[in-house]
Subunit: 591 residues, 2 copies
Amino acid sequence: MHHAVDFIQDLAVIMLLAGIVTVIFNRFRQPVVLGYIVAGVIIGSYTPPFSLIHDEKTISILAELGVVFLMFSLGLEFSLRKLARVGVTAVVAALTEIILMLWIGFEIGRFFEWKLMDSLFLGAMLAISSTTIIVKALDELGLKREKFAQLIFGVLIVEDILAIGMIALLSGIAITGSVDTSEATFTLGKLLLFMVVSLVVGILLVPRAIAYVAKFKSSEMLLVTVLGLCFGFCLLVIKLGYSVALGAFLIGAIIAEARQLHMIERLVAPLRDMFSAIFFVTIGFLLDPNVIISYLGPIAIITVAVVIGKIVSCSVGSFLSGQDGRTSMRVGMGLSQIGEFSFIIAALGLSLKVTSDFLYPVAVAVSVITTLLTPYLIRGADPFTQWLGRMMPGRVSYVLTQYTKWLQSIHLSGDSAALMAVVRRILLNVAVNLAIVVAIFLGGAFFFKQFAKLMSPWILAVAAQSTVVWGGALLLSLPFLVAVYRKLKSLSLLLVELSVPSNLAGRYTLHVRRVVAEILPIAAMVGVMLLLAVLSASILPSTEMLLLTGIAAVCLAVVLRSWFVKMHAKLQIALKETLEQQNDIQNGGHS
Amino acid sequence: MHHAVDFIQDLAVIMLLAGIVTVIFNRFRQPVVLGYIVAGVIIGSYTPPFSLIHDEKTISILAELGVVFLMFSLGLEFSLRKLARVGVTAVVAALTEIILMLWIGFEIGRFFEWKLMDSLFLGAMLAISSTTIIVKALDELGLKREKFAQLIFGVLIVEDILAIGMIALLSGIAITGSVDTSEATFTLGKLLLFMVVSLVVGILLVPRAIAYVAKFKSSEMLLVTVLGLCFGFCLLVIKLGYSVALGAFLIGAIIAEARQLHMIERLVAPLRDMFSAIFFVTIGFLLDPNVIISYLGPIAIITVAVVIGKIVSCSVGSFLSGQDGRTSMRVGMGLSQIGEFSFIIAALGLSLKVTSDFLYPVAVAVSVITTLLTPYLIRGADPFTQWLGRMMPGRVSYVLTQYTKWLQSIHLSGDSAALMAVVRRILLNVAVNLAIVVAIFLGGAFFFKQFAKLMSPWILAVAAQSTVVWGGALLLSLPFLVAVYRKLKSLSLLLVELSVPSNLAGRYTLHVRRVVAEILPIAAMVGVMLLLAVLSASILPSTEMLLLTGIAAVCLAVVLRSWFVKMHAKLQIALKETLEQQNDIQNGGHS
């Protein structure tokens, strides 16, 4: 009972102060997030006269829930369609920004002779801009619907995905203690695989489950179901060794495909607001003024680096991908701050015990300063562009204008564009199917011990057990392998028709074409099987058994071919329907 | 980090199971609450194979938040206006039910030779019916808009208020260890005083603060402000020694007067649903099947007592207050179960360490059985009434019908009704003003030490300090005292006119009337001042100082009379406006 009193006192202090400070901040048109951090500094243990918080452990757990709900909401707003619309610019600008900022951050850390891990985490902290702060700033300036704002949102989505990967990578590096590129590639590969498979399986299952629950017309049941899915998936992700932030984002992106998205967003928003307020306030707790005073130099240098580095990298990235100078500059100036992701990454470093204590307050200080600058930078973008235009030598600006014009002129059109689209669709299809197959085999290897235990009453020999598991994985994969084979065949037919012109092989043209079109997919399938063998090495049966299983599988595939095709088509249609259904509803909801 | 993982695992297990079980329960048309409890039993440590919960402390804190949000939502739905509409019946039925069930529960406890405290808490647990279960049941049966349903809601509101008092009383009894009636009366009086003062002050301040924040049009800020007010007030209530449930209910009732009520209800609902789910699931944790098996006898007897006792007491109560037989029986049968309040009271007993461990699972078991019976009882009310009508001797049913007719015939009407309304309004006004005055003096006595410390640099003598504090309290109270005096004077004028008929005193009539009308309020004011002197005994100055202060106050009151009246009128208008504003919006919202 007394413990609960402590806790309610903590919540009362946090919420009251957060409320008062945010009202003041809003009154002076500063972002709410800053208000929370200031409230945290006031409450925190570093500012006199005394700490107002009694039950720090429970509060820190609620702050963790804040990260879950922040990332979950971000996932709900995520959409592959939105991403496709701003496509190339977003990817180029985000990649330029992240690579440049990672490098700048790392170099600054090395310059101050910080530890390797500190420098690496500093780089990661500077790499990602703050979605919440930009959205709030653009909203307050009334620029949310402008073209450059759409580009900024695109860059932010790409950044979020890359940040998720970065969190996974940093965890891996922190645990193994070394920057092993092959290891990193493998980690990133596994991560991508996990993301693709959980998206596909999730989008097949979750919206259907939610639709079923929604039929009862009880927002309480819907909320509890959504929370169950959210925390359940987070738990799975944690058990697989990834961060809870990744899990919350992914399940959010999956649930975003449910027809009931708008209802769910409305139900989750208060939870996000309450817990994210606690999260941002606890960030303020950790702000030790003494640390800030003694690290004034680094903070100033990092702030300048963030502002200039982000403006340059994002503007150049946008410009290179074909935007005009003014839009590029506005994109760059909008993205020049760091925010919630930096805190998440800083908290990751602290919880993994690989970074020094000063890194967190430094990140918060830089974030506070750059956040304060954001609205002024956005407003200053146009005057700065004009000034830059006047200062630039005529020849340079002529070359730049020609570049933009040239890029816009080389867009594919007509037949070749349609062909590219077909090829792209086939390759995407093959990649998704292969990801599922790989996941099945990796899952078999991962859970082999559990399977073996289940089989032990009937099958004792380990060799026999591994044959059964491997064979089972192969059986499960068959529909997807058949689909991959068929898609590869149609792709090779297409390629062959283009690359073996009829005048080259003369009267053998048709013959040559058919042979190549048959050989190419079979060769690819052999490659796939070799890859699978490597990935499932730990449960690979003996050579004879493998041969037998393989032949049985091929026979089965040939015999049940049409059934497999039908089943796979059904799954594919279900997936497509879910994705397109959502589309309808969203358009309906906004119109 | 690892701790947060434990916690997320707990949340995942709770939410996933709660989601699945509630879907199943909803499928078979049973209340969601039962589903949560069953999910809790499955998760709980008493059911094999092992406990699925790792961080029981944090989960129990979140369950406590469930109580806060449940009571807060109840407060948001509470309305003095709604209560006035069903008035007499609700009060009579609720009082009959609570007194009878308290007695039955206590006697059952004594019969089984349980401890005195156990018996007392058992009585309290059986006294209150379950709002959530009744609302769900009536909703599912489609009877929510019937007349008896409105009566049931009225009874529930009165019960909720009395339950709040009961929680305070039980805490007091548990701490002092004795059932001291004068102590209990004093406690209840202090509680009533606290409730009235916080309602008046709260309704004056809180809706204005919320309206100010709402101007920023940010639902995030509104939510944080509301949560800050909620937890802040809960903290104050806890510090004053009352339960957090009372605090949450009161601040909810205050915030219910804000113009933004509907928005706030929408924002708080997901928080309530999430945390109350955790609360109900944790109830299931404590359900030890062994306890239930060994207490099968008491559970059966208590269940029968709850069903029959509540049907009889509520039906008789409704009937006595003038409802017809059929409606009375429907009210009684709807109210015959126990629910969330019983758990809150059981949890109170456990946390105060005055009740035995078996009481909680017994209460949960009885609640589960009576909840399951509720829909059948509601549906069975009409057939049962008909059967009862056939079985009743003709003369009895004739007498009963005549009683109903007689009661309905004696309703006041015309002039006397209007007069009663005026007198009632004046008395209410006096009571509220006096409550504020009493609160000011009690506050002065309570915080005397803090005030004394503040004054110590200038005034050292304790006698002088107490004179300043007492005088200050008197000064603050003056506007309210002046208002009380004026209201009492108009009341005595009214009464004198009625009770001193012109033919009695002949030509002295006017004179007698004026003297009586002057003396009565002055006598009453002297009584009030004596009461204040008793209440503030600890800070009462010496007799001379008291006399001086009193004379100064009277002079001030006479001189500044009109200013005080104006100020008081302003406050009163502000209060009235808030209450009526809300009325507009609510009607607007529902039409």
